[in-house]
Structures are given as C-alpha cells and as structure tokens.
C-alpha cells in the first residue's frame, strides 16, 4: 500500500500547491513581469505537443520564479489557440506552442494569422521523419520503391497525415528529388494510416521516428530512408536523404513563442528559462523516451526566427508547385 499512499500524497500535494499558487501567486514573482504564465497548447491532452509542454513547463517555472500552467485549447490545427494568444496582451504572460502547422495553415489560407505575428522563443527539438514500408512486404529497400514507381508511374501509394499539410510537403520534396510519380493519400489520423500500411493497402508512409519507433522495434514496419543530413546512430543502415543526393526536406519541430511585440527583456528572460528547462532531467527523459534527441534541434530566439522565415519560403514554394500541377 506504500506506493498507493505516495500517489494520494502526490495528488493532494499538487492540488494544495496549485491552490496555494493560485491564491498567493504574486508572492514569488521577483523579476519576471507576470505573476503566472499560461502555456497554451493548440492540441489535445496527451499528444506530442502536450507532452512536450508538460515536460518543459516545470523547468521554465523554476527559472522564472513564477508558476507555468499548461492549458490545452485544441481545434483547427491550433488556429484556435493561436487566435487566443494573439487576443491577449503582448506581456509575455502567455506562451504558445509552435509547430510547422503555423506555417502551413498560413500558406494554405486556413487562417489570416501569420507566423510573423509571433515572437519565437526557442526551438526545442526536431522529430526526424522517415519513409517506412511494411516489414516483409514487397518493398525491402528504398531502391525497390523507386523501381516500382518507375515501372508503374503514378501507382505508388504514399500515406501521410493531412492534406496540403507538413507531411504532404515533405513527401513531395522527397519524391520530387527522386524524380518519380506517386499518389499521396491523406489521412486525418495516423492510426488509420498505420493500419492501412500494415494491412498492405499503402506502399509507403511518411511518419516521424517518435511515432513509429515501437512498430519498427517490433518488426512490423521497416524504415527505408531517413530524411536527414546523415545516417542516425539509432538506425544504422538506413540511408539518409542527403546521401542519396536528395534535397533534405524540413523536419518536424516543436518550440515556443509569444505574441509579437512582447518587450525584449521579457523575451530574453523567457529564452533563458527555456534553455535552462531543456537541460532539466524531466525534459531530457522526455526527449530520450520519444527519440527526439537523435538529431540536434535546439535553437535560440534569433536562430529560430531565421529558420521560420526560411521554412516559410520552402513550404510556400512546394504548395504553389502542388497547385500548378
């Protein structure tokens, strides 16, 4: 019964702590201009962005000296959350979880909001993507895929999540580089896509390592190429896109931002707090567990802003190419 009482204590402690923080939150705010910070995640509880925020928030709170609360506001690939953040004052008291979706939402016209309305804080990690086939299926290697696509133009079925989404952009860059025709099959949720891959209805799927690692380990799915500059230690023998002479497509990343126009010193303090939080054990365990540390991805505010501008252009080019076809 010992562990049970530990959890009871854990739950009651966090509730009490929470009440105390909500009631006397102003007490500990020494330098940071807010009595508490809210981190708004535009995705549901339990997803990648949510787990990221929850593993990072305690570290940020420790450095800032004010509590950081993670709040889920799911809807319309985080457009709803972005609107909420931009409707609040630019005081650094509200953090927004940013992913490449902010760029694609803007480019495909889903929202009028732009990534330039936001002030980047940091990019925390990249989630490397790979092209996968069913293990024991007709494609043992990437060469098999290319050969099939050349023999059967337009017959190769490639799965990804979302239409005109990050996944579709990546798939287009890769197969464009390989110079073969294919058919992109959009999915709303990756679980259906995985079932279709295992069921032999799709030839290849694009997905991130973190999502498919378990299925790779269990021998259901085989990675064919890794979309990175070089091979990964974790997956020896899986060719890198760069080694094949392909343009390396952008990777999925997760980071934090605040509303544009936030005072520079607040941004500076947040950046410092996030950098420190990224070194905490809680966050490192999270990265390790989800294989988000296979590739260096950490960027500060300036580097992140530069990256956003560059990727925005790259995505826009691919999407306008899609529409020209």
């Amino acid at each position: 019964m010992k562990r049970f009482s530990e959890v009871i204590r854990g739950i009651s402690c966090s509730v009490v702590a929470f009440l105390a923080i909500s009631a006397f939150g102003t007490a500990s705010a020494a330098d940071y201009p807010c009595s508490s910070v809210e981190w708004i995640v535009g995705w549901g509880a339990g997803g990648g962005s949510d787990s990221f925020a929850r593993s990072m928030a305690p570290g940020v709170a420790d450095t800032l000296g004010v509590p950081v609360r993670v709040i889920n506001m799911p809807g319309a690939s985080s457009i709803v959350a972005q609107e909420e953040v931009l409707n609040r004052p630019a005081d650094g008291c509200t953090i927004f979880s940013i992913t490449p979706d902010q760029l694609t939402n803007e480019i495909t016209g889903l929202t009028e909001l732009s990534h330039t309305d936001l002030q980047p804080i940091m990019r925390a990690h990249v989630d490397i993507g790979m092209m996968h086939a069913r293990k024991g299926g007709e494609f043992g290697s990437w060469d098999d895929v290319i050969a099939y696509a050349k023999d059967n133009p337009g017959e190769l079925l490639v799965g990804g999540t979302g239409a005109a989404s990050f996944d579709e952009i990546v798939v287009n860059i890769v197969f464009g580089a390989a110079g073969v025709e294919f058919r992109y099959i959009p999915y709303e949720a990756s679980k259906e896509m995985h079932a279709d891959l295992l069921g032999g209805r799709l030839h290849v799927v694009y997905d991130e390592v973190s999502v498919l690692a378990g299925m790779i380990e269990a021998g259901q799915v085989a990675p064919l190429i890794v979309l990175a500059e070089s091979e990964l230690e974790k997956f020896p023998g899986v060719q890198a896109a760069r080694d094949l002479g392909y343009q390396v497509p952008p990777s999925l990343w997760r980071g934090a931002a605040v509303k544009g126009g936030t005072p520079a010193d607040a941004v500076k303090m947040l950046e410092g707090a996030f950098m420190a939080a990224a070194d905490t054990e809680a966050y490192q365990t999270f990265e390790e567990g989800r294989l988000l540390n296979l590739y260096p991805g950490r960027l500060g505010a300036d580097g992140f802003a530069e990256l956003l501008a560059g990727e925005h252009k790259m995505y826009a080019d691919v999407i306008s190419g899609l529409n020209a076809n």
Partner: protein, 497 residues
C-alpha cells in the same frame, strides 16, 4: 497468464483500480471533461509508480469514464461524454416517466456485461481480432458507414421521410470544416473553431440538454419527473433479473458488435454505440417504440460502448495502433514506464499484458459496484426544484462547451439547441441527426480515400469481400422494408377495390 492475473489482484494494484474508477466516474459524468483529459492530466503523477499499478489506474479511469457519461444522459439528458449520446436519446424518457432507476440499473449492468464479454475476447482471441482490424481499409469503413445509415428508415419508423431529412441534416453538418482529402475549407463562415469540424460534444449538449431546457421553458413545463412529482427515489440500482434475462440477446449482440467496431482504429466507442442502437432498432419487432423510452435502446448502446472501449485495447496491445483517442493517450502512460505498447509487449512482458486484461475485468465489476453509490448521489439532484436544475443544466451546457475550445463552441451549442427545439417541435427525430453527424466523415472521407487508392475505380472497391458483404447487407436493410411495404400496400388495395 496466471502470474499476470495474480499481479492484477494484489492489494496495491487493487487500490489503484478503485481510485481510477472513482476519478473516471467523476470526470465522465461531467460534460466537457472526459477520461482522455483525466489520463493526460494525471500522467505526470504516476511517474513514481511501478508500471502495472500506473497502467491499471488509467485503464480503470478510462473504462469508468466511458460509462459515467450515461448517468447524466439518463437523468438530465446531458451526454457527459460522447459515448453516451444514444443513451441520452433513449434513457431520459425513463426519468420523465419516473423510471430513472430502471434505466440507470440496466445501463450500468449492461455496461459491465459488455465490458466483461469484451475482456473474455481480449483473453482468448486478441491476435485474431487484430488481424480482422487490419482487414479494414477505407472501402470497408465506407461500407460500414453505409450499413449504419441504412438503418435510418427503421430508427424513424413512424415517419421515414422525417428520419431521412434529419439524417441528411446530420450528414451535411458533418461536412463542416477542413475537408480531409483536399484541405478545402467548407461551410466555416470565417469561424476558425469549426474548421476542425463541428465540435461534437458541444453540439450534442445543445441538441439534447439545452434544447430540452428551452422546450420546458417554452411550455412552462417545470416538472422533470411527470409521474411521481418530487418524491422520486432511485433505489433499485440493480434491475430485476427478469428484465436482464429478457435483454440477453440484445446485450450479447451489442457487445459483439461493439467489440468489433471498437477494434477498428478508424471508429470508436461512440460509433459503436450508434451502430448497435440502430442495429437493435432494425432487429426489433416494434421499431416505432424506440426513441420514446424502450429499455433495449439503453441496453444496446451501453453494452456496445463499453465493449468497444475494451476492444480499443486490442489494436493498441497487439499492433501498437491505438483504437481510440484515449488509448492514444494511454500510449503516453506506457512510454513513461519504458514500455512500448505493441506486439513486442506480448513477447517481452506478457505478465503486464495479462495483468492489464485482468485489471480491465476487475474494473468492469468495480464500475458496477461504485456506480450504485454514485447514482444514489446523483439522484438527489433530480429532486431539486426544476428552476434550479434548469439553471444548472444551462450553465453546465455553456461551461462544458467552453471547455472544448472557446466562445464559438458555445455558439455552436446554442445553435444546436435551437435546431433541436425546432426539429422536436415539428416532430422530427433527433437520433438520425446524430447518426449522420457521426457516420458522415466515415462515409465521405473513407470513400474518397478509397477511390484515390484505386484511381477512381468504384468496381475495384466492390471486389473487396468485406466491402461487398457489408454493402449487400445495407442494400438488404433498405430493400426489404421497402418491398414489404409495397406488398402490404398492394394487398390492401386488392382487398378494398
């Protein structure tokens, strides 16, 4: 296997099952909060635990959450979670008649039985069910959706035309938001909150709970329970054995159907509840009695949604593919304990898998026991004066919708309340609207995805045996009543020339 079961029965684990069940019941009963949120919020707390108690805690929270939504659905017509939607359709009539105890008792018992039947399947035929789940591709989902829709005529037996119109409204509402296949914005009218589709729970709260309050206000009908007045006791938490015996085939059918739908990654417990309800109506000799408070209409979705919730564990554990939203979050619970759900788990840690199975079985019994107490507590609210109750229901409707996003979700809730009010005033059934809303995306996106795969060759879809079989049954469901109707009409004409 035995070792795993013993693991599930230790006091340590048992305590967590009880805790999980209690939290699950609480979260599930409140609209706007559900088991998925609960699992995600409490994940960090379980870092300190061993894997088995932690997973048990979440599995029991999940299973209890699926059931608890039906308590508020029956008593106040508020579907506490989306799985309880059909229970709100059918169950609230019992409360109005002063028979809430019967409906609640049947709901909780059937939930437990459905969950237990699915657990037996979990122990025995998991690998086979996993291979069945893999047979389901886009064309099969499309056919399944069509099969569900083919029951509409039965669901609205008294006036099929109205049923069809109601279903079309639901299907049309399902097209709102970003088109899954092309990324086009559809019927969004510049509101970003509905880009991801009509938020389901706010819509259902509006359609059922808020519209009911408005109707009573409009008719100055201020007694929740028309029969017994204020002195309603809900004592009979367990239904009479004879009632259960009468329902045996309904429960069995619905549990199996729920299990089969639950294992599909592209469907879920809500779809399972809806499909089993319509199948039950379709099978019934008195389809016109449904929608007015028929006990089979509570038993079927309740057995099915719990069976489906358990079934969702099958693709998770044997393929590593979550069968539902909550199981997707459960992956997080596995990951923080360095366990990777999937076939590997069966090989590496079989005792954990069997402990989980055992835990699920225990949870279903626990839900049964605790619900009895929990229902008693809720039953007190029924005795509150209606003005206070109505104020609470309207507030919960608004807050529950707010919890799903922003003020626009409340606007959706209000719009659906008015829609429900208008439809019910003109005697249109609401069940087909729900059917259309849930099955719409399954039908449309799956068909278009399937056609993309075959390069727009529809005959290639019919060549797939499961697709063809499901569509044939759907055709039969539509054709048989139509032909029977024609024959009856022709005979009647002959007799009275």
């Amino acid at each position: 296997m035995i070792e795993g079961l013993q693991l599930a029965l230790t006091m340590d684990v048992f305590a967590f099952i009880i805790l999980g069940t209690l939290i699950g019941l609480m979260l599930g009963a409140l609209p706007g909060l559900d088991a998925t949120t609960g699992v995600a919020l409490l994940l960090p707390v379980t870092y300190v635990l061993a894997p088995v108690p932690a997973l048990m805690f979440f599995v029991s929270l999940y299973a209890a959450g699926v059931f608890a939504g039906s308590i508020t659905a029956i008593l106040f017509r508020i579907p506490g979670s989306s799985e309880a939607i059909m229970t709100a359709v059918e169950g609230h009539h019992f409360t109005a008649r002063g028979e809430a105890g019967l409906a609640l008792g049947v709901a909780v018992t059937c939930s437990a039985i459905g969950g237990l039947i699915a657990t037996v399947a979990l122990f025995t035929i998991t690998p086979w069910l996993a291979s069945v789940a893999l047979q389901f591709g886009p064309s099969e989902y499309f056919a399944l959706g069509v099969l569900g829709l083919s029951c509409i005529a039965a669901v609205s037996a008294s006036d099929p035309l109205k049923g069809i119109i109601a279903a079309l409204i639901g299907l049309l509402l399902a097209t709102v938001g970003i088109d899954q296949i092309t990324g086009a914005k559809r019927f969004d009218f510049g509101v970003s909150s509905i880009l991801g589709g009509i938020p389901f729970v706010p819509a259902m709260i509006g359609l059922f709970a808020a519209s009911e309050v408005y109707r009573r206000i409009a008719q100055r009908d201020h007694t929740l329970v028309s029969g017994g007045g204020r002195k309603v006791t809900i004592r009979s938490a367990l239904p009479p054995f004879l009632t259960l015996l009468k329902l045996r085939w309904t429960v069995l059918r619905s549990s199996v159907l729920g299990l089969l739908v639950g294992i599909l990654p592209g469907a879920g417990a809500t779809t399972a509840a809806i499909l089993s309800y319509s199948a039950e109506v379709r099978m019934s000799r008195q389809p016109e009695a449904f929608g007015k408070g028929k006990i089979e209409g509570v038993a079927a979705p309740e057995s099915a949604n719990n069976a489906a919730a358990v079934g969702a564990m099958i693709p998770l554990l044997s393929l590593g593919i979550p069968g539902s939203g909550t199981t997707a979050v459960l992956i997080g619970a596995f990951l923080i304990h360095n366990l990777q759900p999937g076939p590997f788990l069966f090989i590496e840690n079989p005792e954990i898998v069997y402990a989980l199975f055992g835990g699920i079985a225990i949870t279903n019994v626990m839900v049964l026991l605790f619900s009895i107490v929990f229902i008693q507590a809720f039953a007190h609210f029924v005795r509150l004066p209606y003005p206070i109750l109505a104020t609470s229901i309207l507030s919960v409707s608004v807050i529950g919708s707010l919890a799903f996003g922003d003020v626009n979700s409340v606007a959706v809730m209000l719009a659906f309340a008015l829609l429900g009010l208008a439809l019910e005033a003109a005697r249109y059934p609401l069940a087909p609207v729900v059917l259309g809303l849930v099955l719409g995306p399954i039908i449309e996106s799956s068909l278009r995805r399937a056609l993309l795969m075959t390069d727009f060759d529809f005959t290639a879809l019919l060549a797939r045996p499961i697709t063809a079989a499901l569509l044939a049954v759907a055709l039969l469901f539509i054709a048989v009543p139509a032909v029977a109707g024609l024959i009856r009409w022709w005979r009647a004409r002959k007799q009275t020339p």
